[in-house]
Symmetry: C2
Subunit: 179 residues, 2 copies
């Protein structure tokens, strides 16, 4: 029978713009003390956006943390007090210049459960209407339209190579939700 | 034409057991200065392990960072100087008590490219032979065997809900690699 770990003490290491870090001391399932590093991040949304020609709208941007340009689905943090669906509508207008008429849930998942609390809500957005919101951090994003069938090839070839994009696109292509 | 961001300065915030954190000042593509928080983590391996009865071997464990038990594929960090394939053999013996006779690459992806450098190498492991390595952090892991076809239902129902497990299992079930 597995037991949860209980917090004994917590130490704040960092609280920054998008990321926080704390180190907790916990009592493990076996009754020992251990340290747990926890990277804190807001909940996020990630969106498979499909236009009227059945093309998936992807974004190419430089990702400083990994030192290269990546081709990903649109995604972003949920602001304090914001609902996930409102974050979808805001992010799509900021990143790709469209407002979705229809948004459906595809699923959700933790990004790095071993050392961080980020949870991503995944959506399918359709009925896209041109609508642009300007945001400072989205000025260096390039929109890339890919026929639905081609997204799987981009995953297979390794051109799409981040966990949320692969998980969300394959959920969209292959998995019927039963939650 | 998109440009990469260039590091101007770097500030070490934390260097811990499994996680590091630094805050860099960069020159953005538009020539402005901006801060970039980077969570540092070793490269990891994640493994879809399939036994001779076509069951996928999953692990259930308490994930302190998200405060709940999760059902995931076996995964872990690559030790300094260790090859990914050796990490696969070590982790499977530690987490599920098997040594794989055959290991094939399924793909790879960044976990949190917006704020962290972790890259996961994904493998398919078969021809499993009982072999146990004892490791301190794997004593509270429960092995769960699931028929291959059922893994998709566990994803659809939300019971499997971490990005690497969803991405790796759907790569295994649906995507033929062309890298």
């Amino acid at each position: 029978m597995l037991k949860p770990e209980k917090k004994i003490t917590t130490r704040r290491v960092y609280r920054g713009h998008a990321v926080g870090l704390r180190v907790d001391t916990v009592e493990t399932a076996r009754g020992r003390e251990a340290a747990r590093e926890v990277v804190e991040h807001s909940e996020c949304i990630a969106v498979v956006a499909v236009d009227e020609d059945d093309r998936v709208l992807l974004v190419r941007q430089f990702r400083y943390a990994v030192g290269r340009f990546l081709l990903e689905i649109p995604a972003g943090g949920i602001d304090p007090g914001e609902e996930p669906l409102d974050a979808v509508r805001r992010e799509l207008q900021e990143e790709i210049g469209y407002l979705p008429g229809r948004v459906e849930r595809l699923g959700g998942f933790y990004a790095i459960p071993g050392y961080g609390d980020e949870y991503l809500h995944c959506f399918l957005a359709t009925d896209l209407v041109s609508s642009r919101l300007v945001a400072e951090d989205t000025e260096s994003i390039e929109l890339v339209r890919v026929p639905r069938q081609q997204t799987q090839q981009l995953i297979a070839s390794g051109e799409i190579c981040d966990a949320k994009s692969i998980a969300a696109l394959l959920l969209f292509l292959y998995v019927e939700r039963t939650e």
